[in-house]
């Protein structure tokens, strides 16, 4: 029972139901995405239900998809635990009339209409190398502390990091090891410790995950190696504030998950109304984020990663 009437240009149609499905609930980034989604929904007159598994489990995520379809949601906005394993369920959803928009972590392109990403993977990968390069004066060994070996986001970013490293500026920097902390504080801590022990000459660690980054920073702090080993990567300003204040972390990057959730929901509304079909070049109104254009591959981008440092960190509170 909803109005399919095409809305006037720039004004969204009223009353869509969306299901916002994170990898799992209970952590900041997704909680913040939900905040953004709710803002967008309020503006558009839609409703967004937020819910998901309590652990990063594909199987449970599929059940949430099926439940959403069964309840005739107009669209699912999903951050996928496994791009491919989710595809059959998402395609089935599409066949039964529930549109799919992915955000944060993409799913197979054939299984969704739009992917709302925080920033281009290239810029996310590059910015971390740029920051670390500055910190370690472009010389010495460094390591990466990633999430799990199968995390597709991290794997893509690491790919772009390696690309960035090919630039001559970095020729005296050597990536000695990619370790995996499995997005688990214990394992991340142990891996970070082991990196410091196994590579006594290590000058830096990039951790492109918000679990790994504070864990690595804390290890360095505890071993009193602040300044000797530089830590950067992706993490929230709240998480990292203490380290930055103490000078243990000089800079790191992230984006606003509120904006990301906001954008994804805006996109979902446009997709649900049929205005957006994922074809490159399509434009839609992303509210306070302005007008957005669909890039090749059905992607819309929030913006650029924000680099946080001692000077600007107090302006951010997420």
């Amino acid at each position: 029972a909803r109005t399919e009437a095409p809305a006037a240009h720039g004004v969204a149609s009223k009353g869509y139901k969306f299901f916002l499905l994170p990898k799992f609930v209970g952590i900041d980034p997704f909680t913040q995405s939900n905040q953004g989604a709710q803002q967008a929904a309020k503006q558009l007159g839609d409703t967004v239900k937020y819910g998901g598994p309590s652990k990063p489990d594909v199987g449970q995520q599929i059940q949430f998809i099926n439940n959403a379809v069964q309840q005739r949601y107009d669209a699912i906005i999903i951050s996928g635990n496994d791009p491919n394993a989710l595809a059959p369920a998402l395609k089935k959803a599409a066949r039964r009339g529930t549109k799919v928009v992915s955000f944060d972590a993409d799913v197979a392109p054939t299984a969704r209409t739009i992917f709302a990403r925080p920033a281009s993977a290239q810029s996310i990968g590059a910015v971390e190398v740029v920051e670390l390069g500055k910190q370690m004066r472009y010389t010495g060994q460094f390591a990466i502390l990633s999430a799990t070996p199968t995390s597709s986001n991290q794997n893509t970013w690491i790919g772009f990091m390696k690309k960035e490293l090919k630039k001559p500026r970095y020729k005296r920097m050597k990536l000695v090891k990619i370790a995996y902390g499995n997005d688990d504080p214990t394992k991340s801590t142990e891996e970070a410790q082991a990196l410091l022990t196994a590579y006594p000459k290590l000058k830096g660690i990039i951790s492109p995950t918000s679990v790994g980054l504070p864990a690595a920073a804390r290890v360095v702090q505890q071993q009193r190696k602040c300044g000797k080993v530089n830590i950067t990567g992706l993490g929230g300003p709240n998480q990292m504030r203490a380290f930055v204040k103490k000078g243990c972390v000089k800079s790191f990057a992230l984006w606003s998950f509120v904006d990301l959730g906001y954008l994804a929901t805006r996109a979902a509304d446009a997709v649900a109304s049929g205005r957006l079909t994922g074809v490159a070049g399509q434009k839609f109104d992303a509210g306070r984020l302005g007008k957005k254009t669909v890039e090749p591959g059905g992607i819309v981008t929030t913006g650029q990663p924000i680099v946080f440092n001692r000077k600007n960190i107090d302006k951010y509170h997420f």
């Binding site: 952590i27 909680t31 688990d184 505890q222």
Partner: protein, 349 residues
């Protein structure tokens, strides 16, 4: 007779440490291997890292050992650690001036309550421990979600004095490890010297016989699970101090590490045998394997594989050593009994 008697006694006493002996051999072999192979394995800092890493596992495993000894199991410890860690962190975040002792006490109290609930379910309501604690695993985890509200507590929210616990040293030992050592000493003493502790063994060894012998089985099982909860509460306090970043998923799956330590350390899941010391060695073994292979600079994928097989090898070494020694002991005892009897026969004649 008396000389032989003491000899036999000394041997029998060794026999009782056999379970630990086998796994200790495995631990030493592992240590030796890494010392030879891995850069910087045998350094004070690295060993301290291993110790600190397993400190929380050890504290919680002491309680788990007691539960397993009574032929029960506590699967809810991971959730209890998570719950108490989040509660501790939230409390300290809101009351920066609060004494850490009070915070620790609060964590232990919450843990105790969770453990007591487990105990009542198992011993009074007679729900099998594995089902009861599987259920409370989800229930307590659900409570963590409700408490945490999807928000992460970060280091910057917590008082420095609390975060410093993770780096502070007491008598040259990292504070967390020190706590673990104290818990281990107390736990061992409890199991060896108190009647309640001995009852745990009796109950697990033969529950029916324990009841016949007039042991208060119900109360002891409640006690074991409550202690496990209390120690998980202490573990939660330590967890919060160690990681400083807490959210709804903190310590999920931690029960697995704890049970692994106990099982590898020779605590019999059928109850009745095993020691706190065994669980400690088990935790150290697993910690050493994890640390050592990481230092080896081999590929991540082979690392996981080797870590797993190393556990299998350690278990095998343990079993072989134990079997050998026990067989030798059996023969020896048999011979001594025969000699004693021969002596006894000759003297009156």
């Amino acid at each position: 007779m008396s000389a032989r008697g003491t000899q036999a006694q000394a041997l029998a006493a060794t026999a009782f440490r056999l379970r630990e002996f086998g796994i200790l051999v495995a631990l030493l072999a592992t240590g030796l291997f890494f010392t030879l192979r891995a850069t910087n394995f045998l350094t004070g800092d690295n060993l301290q890292d291993i110790g600190t890493n397993v400190a929380i596992v050890i504290v919680v495993a002491v309680g788990q050992t007691m539960v397993i000894l009574t032929r029960n199991i506590d699967l809810s410890v991971g959730s209890i650690v998570g719950l108490t860690a989040v509660i501790t962190a939230q409390t300290l975040a809101h009351h920066h001036g609060l004494s850490l002792w009070v915070a620790a006490l609060l964590a232990v109290a919450v843990g105790t309550a969770c453990g007591l609930a487990n105990g009542l379910l198992v011993a009074v309501a007679r729900v099998p421990a594995i089902i009861a604690t599987l259920a409370t695993l989800s229930i307590y985890r659900g409570l963590v979600f409700q408490r945490a509200h999807g928000v992460t507590i970060n280091q910057s929210d917590l008082p420095n004095g609390f975060l410093d616990l993770a780096t502070r040293k007491v008598l040259g030992t990292p504070f967390l490890l020190f706590v673990a050592v104290v818990v281990v000493v107390l736990g061992s003493a409890f199991l060896h010297w108190t009647s309640s502790g001995r009852d745990f063994y009796a109950i697990g060894s033969n529950p029916a016989a324990a009841r016949f012998a007039g042991i208060a089985v119900t109360r002891r099982v409640i006690l074991a699970l409550t202690l496990s909860g209390a120690l998980a509460g202490l573990g939660g306090f330590m967890w919060a101090a160690r990681f400083g970043t807490l959210n709804a998923v903190s310590a999920s799956g931690f029960e697995f590490d704890v049970i692994t330590a106990a099982v590898i350390g020779g605590v019999n899941v059928f109850g009745g045998s095993g020691t706190v010391l065994g669980a400690v060695i088990g935790a150290l073994l697993v910690g050493t394997i994890a640390n050592g292979f990481t230092l080896l600079r081999i590929s991540e994928f082979w690392k996981i594989t080797f870590q797993g097989f190393a556990i299998v090898v350690a278990v095998t070494i343990d079993a072989l050593v134990t079997q050998r020694l026990q067989e030798a002991l059996r023969r020896r005892r048999r011979r001594e009994v025969a000699e004693a009897r021969a002596e006894a026969r000759e003297s009156p004649a």
